[in-house]
């Protein structure tokens, strides 16, 4: 088994081990490819994807919205146009990084 497959297997194992801490979210992906100056709107396609994630932390400053850090199983390409719905709450995606196996996303929500 290759090292890559071994790490991917370990990620699967870890997500199974956390039991009900693991959540399922719906990622609404909007792939924007151009802007139409005639209609003054972005043009692109929208698709949805179900993902498994683990909410790591949540922080908020007094009087402001809050940001949430989430660990997503697998590699997902996130953009500012995308939204992630977890437990009925829709988050905007403000930042993300991945290492080829898991994606760490910073999610924001207005108060």
């Amino acid at each position: 088994m290759s090292l890559k497959a071994r790490v991917a297997q370990a990620v699967d194992k870890a997500f199974n081990a956390i039991g009900d801490l693991k959540q399922t979210g719906t990622l609404k992906v909007k792939n924007v490819g151009s802007y139409d100056f005639a209609s003054q709107t972005t043009k692109g396609s929208v698709s949805t994807q179900t993902i498994e994630l683990f909410i790591e932390s949540k922080k908020s400053k007094s009087g402001e919205g809050f940001t949430t850090s989430a660990l997503i199983k697998g590699v997902v390409d996130l953009e500012v146009y995308d939204t992630l719905t977890v437990g009925g709450v829709a988050y905007n995606i403000t930042d993300y990084s991945d290492n080829g196996f898991v994606t760490e996303a910073i999610l924001s929500k207005e108060k």
């Binding site: 100056f37 005639a38 953009e79």
Partner: protein, 133 residues
């Protein structure tokens, strides 16, 4: 409606065949989607900045700037920047669109883009005055 009308009058010009024929990828500021040509593109900003009444019956005029940030591939001189600026002049300089009058342009050459040094940038600036709402 003045601000929206200014934006409509300017942005509509970038949808015309006259501009599209140049095949220069152009996006508005606050666009974060993918770009068709990452080595050469323009970002359009419309920035109203001051307003006044120009007649006794309270007709409003709004002044501001249209800024087009031009990105071209770094390391290949500045000719392409000048060519694109001339094409923008042909589209915008001393033109009137609706009740938006555009003035004369100038160019600020900025050099290598600090966030992506594979690109060289310049800002094409042209003032406008919009009459009425």
């Amino acid at each position: 409606m003045a601000f929206e009308n200014i934006l409509n009058n300017i942005e509509a010009q970038f949808a015309t065949p006259e501009w599209s024929a140049n095949k220069i990828a152009t996006y508005p500021v606050n666009y974060q989607g993918s770009k068709s040509n990452t080595n050469e593109y323009c970002l359009l900003s419309v920035m109203p900045s001051a307003s006044d009444y120009y007649a006794y019956d309270a007709k409003k005029s709004t002044k501001g700037l249209v800024a087009v940030k031009i990105f071209v591939k770094a390391g290949e001189g500045s000719k392409r920047t000048m060519i694109i600026s001339d094409k923008l002049d042909a589209l915008l300089q001393n033109k009137t669109y609706g009740t938006t009058e555009l003035g004369t342009s100038y160019l600020t050459v900025e050099g290598l883009d600090p966030s992506n040094t594979a690109l060289y940038s310049a800002s094409y600036i042209i003032p406008f005055t919009h009459y009425g709402e």
